[in-house]
């Protein structure tokens, strides 16, 4: 039989065997003459070909006759096709050009720290943001370990590069969040309302940001929500401060998902054991719920809805500074609703559409009283409702360039009542923007844009130009510069009483250098910011305030040098002075420290399946106001330096079928004294330190998840 086969074979194949074989040899290099290994050399339409060796050489025989097309293919390089004549042996020298892929293309980076799973070269990933010990799973607290942000832990919000918390705007999927922080008590900052796990991408811009965003003088925190979950799951959590539960459901066709979550927090039992500085007289009790719905409407279309409701009550008693021997009571009830609906679709011919709508409502009811004094209590009720819509179109031009334009409309109702005295107003805000990212070459990009705004309450228009340039030196390093004008309405508490105020203005100038490799990141930035038209309250409300901020920032992150360890170090130097509100002259404001530094260290012990985290933050003292000093010594005294060490440990295990994690975290573990400033009695005779309500907070919790493995999230949720 074998002989029979052989016959058959020879008969059938004889036409092929009769062809002469010719030999093709050669060498492949890149444009800098370095040999390329692994290149696939193929004679098109046949199996004939070879793979280049380490020295870039190849050699093979082919029976293909006459003029043939030869291709050379290697990942990361443009495929080369060339005609060869295969009637005689060939010796070829092939040069491959490197392919310009998205990874190597320069991106606008001045001023912004991007955290995303999708994109490469990001400085921090979403999980990194929440793995930070001492941050308590709060986005803003984690962002405070990045350069540019201040350690102002007695006030809400992100204080960036000499700006106030009000100058930072938070956006979810492009829509503004009017009250991103929970309402809280004086000197105790409220936490961020939103769980870090809602977001797949976080961009912290400390300046120079896009014309898409307005109404923030200093900074933008741009949050992008997650798409569909990987699979359905449910979870429960128990901790020393409360309980939580949630379900996430993904449809069978994996195109639709919905989720519901609820949590209940009660700090009263904890405060019975660990006495806070101010004794609770109401709660603190928080009920939170959220729902989400996401639908993939087509291959490229995505519809997302997110709704959030939160009810908080809390109150504390403290010794009166004004009336020694008396007690002051402060009680707060807060209701907050936030909804956000967005739709994205590719509408063909390289055009993309984004549409969003959002409604939010926030109500604070405050009762402040000096007990047993004959004064009537102060009753304050503040309600802000905001409806907004935004439409944006963008078109890809060529391979990388993009043109964006769109408009925004916001309708805000701000109501406030103090002891029966009303101060309400309505504002219609309209904005239009256009912006182009123009790639001169794949490694050199310019962004030019502008934004025009009008608000009915001020009755004024503004136009803000913005320009950035970025140049990539090699695969890892790039230089960027940015310039831009930024306008913002004054805070509602000033507009309420004076409608003739105008916009406040900041102008940013930024130069930055960054080097991002897969295992480490280095970044440094130099900035100058000029403030003008800031609100003054003395002698009367006006826009005559001004100021500046300048400084240098450095960031280093390393994931490689120590096994199972990831750490980063940030340092910011800030020189800022401003004359605003009731300041008699231009001075360093009480929310700004000259030097701020953070070290974040994370160590995973695989054998113990335990994660250990350590965060150290340092800031030099901040100025404070001492009424006993003459006006030329205004804000001339400074508090002690700020030191904080946060520690966290988490242990992973499984109980029956549920993945379970135990978490222990301690903020300010050594119990360092932290003084943020001083309150003086109105006669200036007595003062008290502004310190955290509890010197250290100990958190112990257990989280169980059925279905999807979310333990890694929880570990990181410290």
């Amino acid at each position: 039989m074998s002989r029979f086969n052989l016959y058959l074979y020879i008969l059938i194949c004889s036409p092929l065997l009769s062809l002469a074989q010719i030999k093709i040899t050669g060498k492949v290099t890149d444009s800098k003459k370095h040999p390329l290994a692994g290149v696939n050399i193929a004679v098109k339409g046949s199996y004939d070909g070879a793979t280049t060796t380490a020295d870039g050489s190849f050699s093979f025989a082919t029976t293909a006759n006459g003029e043939q097309l030869l291709s050379a293919t290697l990942t990361g390089y443009q495929t080369l096709e060339l005609k060869v004549n295969t009637s005689t042996d060939q010796q070829l020298n092939i040069v491959l050009k490197s392919a310009v892929n998205a990874l190597r293309v320069v991106t606008i980076s001045a001023g912004s720290f991007e955290a995303s799973d999708d994109k490469k070269g990001t400085v921090l990933k979403p999980l990194d943001i929440v793995t930070t010990a001492g941050a308590g799973a709060d986005i803003a607290n984690a962002i405070k370990t990045l350069p540019g942000a201040q350690q102002t832990n007695d006030r809400e919000g992100l204080f960036v590069r000499g700006g106030t918390g009000y100058e930072t705007q938070t956006l979810i999927d492009g829509m503004l969040v009017r009250n991103p922080f929970s309402s809280s008590l004086p000197d105790i900052p409220g936490r961020g309302r939103f769980s870090p796990f809602l977001f797949k991408g976080t961009t912290f811009s400390s300046g120079g940001y896009s014309a898409q965003y307005g109404q923030g003088l200093s900074s933008a925190l741009i949050l992008e929500s997650v798409d569909l979950p990987e699979r359905s799951s449910s979870s429960v959590g128990v901790s020393v401060i409360g309980v939580s539960a949630g379900v996430d459901n993904l449809s069978k066709d994996k195109k639709t998902s919905y989720g519901v979550e609820a949590d209940y927090t009660n700090l009263a039992p904890y405060f019975n054991v660990f006495k806070p500085k101010q004794a609770p007289n109401l709660g603190p009790e928080i009920i939170g719920t959220s729902v989400n719905f996401r639908r993939k409407t087509s291959k490229t279309g995505m519809l997302k809805f997110y709704g959030y409701g939160n009810w908080t009550k809390m109150g504390f008693n403290k010794n009166s500074l004004e009336y020694p021997g008396y007690t002051e009571s402060f009680k707060l009830h807060n209701n907050n609703v936030y909804t956000n609906l967005t739709y994205r679709e590719n509408i063909g011919h390289d055009w993309h559409l984004y549409a969003g709508a959002s409604f939010s409502s926030n109500t604070d009811n405050i009762n402040a009283d000096t007990l047993l004094k004959n004064y009537a209590p102060t009753l304050i009720r503040v309600q802000s409702d905001l409806s907004q819509s935004k439409l944006m179109l963008y078109k890809n031009l060529g391979r990388f360039s993009v043109l964006r334009f769109g408009g925004e409309y916001q309708y805000a109702v701000e109501k406030s009542t103090m002891n029966g005295y009303h101060a309400n107003y309505v504002d219609n805000y309209t904005a239009a923007f256009a912006e182009g990212d123009v790639y001169f070459t794949p490694s050199f990009v310019g962004r030019v844009g502008g934004r025009a705004e009008y608000t009915s309450i001020l009755g004024k228009m503004n136009f803000a130009p913005r320009v950035s340039l970025a140049y990539k030196v090699n695969n890892y390093s790039q230089f960027s510069i940015a310039y831009g004008d930024y306008y913002q309405k004054p805070e509602p508490q000033y507009i309420r009483f004076d409608n003739y105020l105008g916009y406040m203005k900041a102008t940013h100038y930024i130069v930055s250098y960054q080097r991002v490799a897969s295992d480490y990141t280095f970044r440094t930035e130099l900035f100058y910011k000029k403030y003008s038209d800031l609100v003054k309250t003395v002698p009367s409300y006006n826009n005559n305030g001004s100021g500046y901020a300048q400084g240098i920032e450095v960031f280093w992150r390393d994931r490689k040098s120590i096994k199972n360890v990831d750490y980063w170090i940030s340092y910011s130097y800030l020189d800022t002075k401003r004359n605003y509100l009731n300041y008699p002259s231009r001075v360093q404001p009480d929310f700004a420290a000259n030097h701020t530094a953070s070290v974040v260290y994370k160590h995973f012990f695989p054998k113990l399946s335990t994660n250990l985290g350590l965060t150290y933050t340092f800031a030099t003292g901040r100025p404070y106001y001492n009424p006993n000093l003459p006006a030329d010594k205004f804000m001339s005294e400074k508090t002690i330096t700020y030191n904080a060490v946060g520690v966290s440990a988490s242990y992973l295990t499984s109980i029956r079928k549920a993945f379970t994690i135990f978490v222990l975290s301690v903020s300010n573990a050594p119990g360092n004294k932290q003084v943020f400033g001083y309150h003086y009695s109105s006669d200036g005779l007595r003062r008290e330190e502004i310190t955290p309500n509890v010197p250290r907070f100990i958190f112990l919790g257990m989280f169980m998840n059925f279905g999807i493995d979310r333990r890694q999230d929880v570990i990181n949720n410290l």
Binding site: L8, G38, K44, D117, Q712
Partner: protein, 216 residues
């Protein structure tokens, strides 16, 4: 005998061109798939060479899914051997594009789902801390799909066993469960009849190695 010979010759000569092509395909594929379980293939260079060869065959044939499938398999195995993690994603992209082509020619294939699971695992290794959730789930769900498409495919059990073996116990891994699953895989290998001599039939030797490791 003579008759058969003549009959063959007759039909053969009519279809010489077509037969030559498909015989060339068969020959090349038999040659290329015969040593898939050999250790000499499993070096980064060896795998790349094989992947390139399969890609050449795939591009010349265009209508055969197997060369695309094998090219993807070689590429994902190469991804596992790479020291520079920055290269894993581009290679995984390449493997996935080959799998897409294979799937277009041969939809609902348990074998293709197995390779997709491997691709997800390779992507996971780039950054387990942040990618674990997404790609871990993806890898598991591809194996579930593979099992649904063909519960007799031994490679499904081999890969599930491998995953159980290398996943830390706190994350749901277990040596004893791995052992059971791998033993099941060997039973399936014993019963498995590949559709042709060039259809996927790799993995038995590797399964034995895994089983050894699970008994340590």
């Amino acid at each position: 005998m003579k008759r058969i010979f003549l009959a063959f010759l007759f039909t053969g000569s009519l279809a010489t061109a077509a037969m030559a092509q498909s015989a060339q395909y068969q020959d090349a594929m038999v040659k290329q798939t015969s040593d898939l379980d050999s250790s000499s293939t499993f070096t980064p260079d060896g795998l790349q060479q094989k992947a390139n060869t399969f890609e050449r065959i795939a591009d010349a044939e265009k209508s055969q899914w197997l060369p695309y499938y094998y090219a993807a398999y070689m590429q994902v195995m190469q991804a596992f051997m790479l020291k520079d993690k920055a290269q894993i994603d581009p290679l995984a992209d390449k493997a996935e594009s080959n799998l897409d082509k294979a799937e277009a020619l041969n939809p609902k294939s348990s074998e293709i789902a197995c390779i997709r699971s491997l691709v997800a695992t390779a992507r996971l290794t780039v950054d387990p801390m942040t990618r674990g959730m997404k790609y871990g789930a993806e890898a598991a769900s591809q194996l579930e799909q593979a099992k649904g498409l063909n519960p007799e495919n031994p490679r499904v059990y081999m890969l599930q066993g491998q995953s159980l073996l290398f996943t830390p116990e706190q994350f749901g891994g277990s040596k004893s469960k791995a052992k059971t699953t791998l033993e099941q895989a060997l039973e399936k290998f014993a019963a498995f009849k590949p559709e042709s001599n060039i259809a996927p039939h790799w993995g038995e030797a590797y399964t034995r190695k895994l089983l050894e490791a699970s008994q340590k």
